[in-house]
Chain length 345, copies 2
Amino acid sequence: MTKCGDMTGPVTMQSVAKAAGVSPMTVSNTFKYPERVQEETRRRVREVAAELGYIPNHAAGNLASGQSRVIGAVIPSIKNSSFYKYVRGMQDAAAEDGYELVLKLADTKRHETAAIRTFIGLRVAGLTLVGKEHEDQAVDLLRKTGVPVVETWVHGDPLDMAVGYSSAAATRAMVDHLVAVGCRRIGFVGYAGDVAGRYTERLPAFEQRMSEHGLAPDLCHLADEADGFGAGPKALEALCRMDMSIDALLCPTDIVAAGVLFECGRRGWKVPERLAVAGWGDYEIASEISPQLTTVQPNAYEMGRGAIEMVIARASGLEPEDSVRNTGFEVVARASTDNAGSDAA
Amino acid sequence: MTKCGDMTGPVTMQSVAKAAGVSPMTVSNTFKYPERVQEETRRRVREVAAELGYIPNHAAGNLASGQSRVIGAVIPSIKNSSFYKYVRGMQDAAAEDGYELVLKLADTKRHETAAIRTFIGLRVAGLTLVGKEHEDQAVDLLRKTGVPVVETWVHGDPLDMAVGYSSAAATRAMVDHLVAVGCRRIGFVGYAGDVAGRYTERLPAFEQRMSEHGLAPDLCHLADEADGFGAGPKALEALCRMDMSIDALLCPTDIVAAGVLFECGRRGWKVPERLAVAGWGDYEIASEISPQLTTVQPNAYEMGRGAIEMVIARASGLEPEDSVRNTGFEVVARASTDNAGSDAA
DNA sequence: CTCTGCCATTGTAGCGCTACAAAATCAAAA
DNA sequence: TTTTGATTTTGTAGCGCTACAATGGCAGAG
């Protein structure tokens, strides 16, 4: 910590300027507005900077300019592959416009609020959240500071901006699919958790659509985890206790569905003949497990891209064309529901 | 953007001070050194700050104090659950000491270097990396700036500090286990990728240990992805082409091993009778899939905690007791290798 | 040879905060 | 009452950078 003489204190713009024989402003311009600096000068400054290992102090720049090239993303979990494409989309879109994406994990709403606080403390250019349910305190903060914020994986009714798809619409589509392949006693597995925002729409949609088909929406079970394989067997058991004639199961994620598949294997149940199983999310496992899983494919990559594009648009001052963007979804029909009811009533 | 009058410009320490009728320094102390401020004053400041939605500008604080409460973690992927416990460990340890953890994803060494650059630009208190292979440029930067940095998931020979376990030791332990349950023609699946640091030790260790057991280490295959289910079938096919009498397979991750299990199912091969399969990482799927997977359990949570503890120790000026910490591992024997060789030679 | 206009470069001031030292306050001791 | 010492509060200066205005240099026009 005692700097010998002053040979190698922290490298600042000042020291680069001195070493390159120019003023600090020229160094600043070299990095921020290269076109303002003559080719030759620019080259020399870059060289010296690299030599010294100079990296501009973002904190100081942020303070001076009031601007930031960092976008914060709060994600609820990395426990499964669901968010991989989403984050990739954000990453790619950010990089294209010269922004940096940093992540914070928050598996409860309380942690989400803390993460938002941290990001605002960092004075990020904007941030993305998952879901539309947040603590009042967080909403308050977001409102007061006015940072650009996009809610993702949901559709409509945004705090500021939103991008995603309608879980209700996807639920209806999946019910239609199961009915179309012959299922009648369809079970529903929901998730009753803390970051439940993007799950809460599903149960009402399920109940309504089942009724519209003239079917009873009575086989519902709320799991206390959405991501674990373990939730599958538990849910199946609970629903079987309600009615052994259950012939299809709509799961909150592919992971839960995979858990159900494993359990069916243990029970010697054939899928989809005895039980059709549908997942959600189009995780990698969905297409690798046997039988392959029917699932909802949420266009996660596009969603990530869209979120960042909206943040950047707002951060650049221009109002984005649309403050709500729908990236849609697709029901991918695979073997786990194929001709499920062929031997049923 | 036109502030009407000046009623609600950005909330600064200044404005909080004015509103609370104290000096800015008192506001600063209220947040940074609460014990220096009288109970009553502190309460009032806190109240006003909350009212106004004030969040201290970390950039300004960082600049003024030269200190940061943010730690950056570069992680290679969130494609699977492998890093979940690791990140949780980091998160928990950071929170306990009042630090913030922010993540950046980097799936190539080039991206890793960019992430390091970003974090240094943010002047984080320290950072954690995964693996011990980095671009020269990154190493150079790390050296020149002297930020505290911990390499994780590896053991020994650190740039600055390291925490993890020996992949070589784990490989040897797994070979011993497979031999003990009767396997003789053991196949090895490696990973030849960009962030291969923590994989490169395994093949030599495998070859050496096999030889020590008097077995031929000739059934080796390098996959081009470590995380995908798809790598499993490919590897199995490649190795079968080399020798159909293969009776065990050591995979780089549980995901690959699960892929192998799926493929065995398609082929009608019994596991472990026809082929014993071992994974690596103790992912959730390992204990849920059928048969359950034998795997290497890497104490990821403890590793994460250790990494952050070391970063904080160094950032606080005190030299950590040990610059290399071994968090060990455990071979978890499960059904996928149980009595594998009972009917073999 | 001077003047205008244009470009590259350079001062100046200040972003919001904190370290440090100085000042104010107040209770207890002299 | 004055003094002392501890506690609480407050100026001052400056962290490293960038916006902005101002400077200098230099070509071509007058």
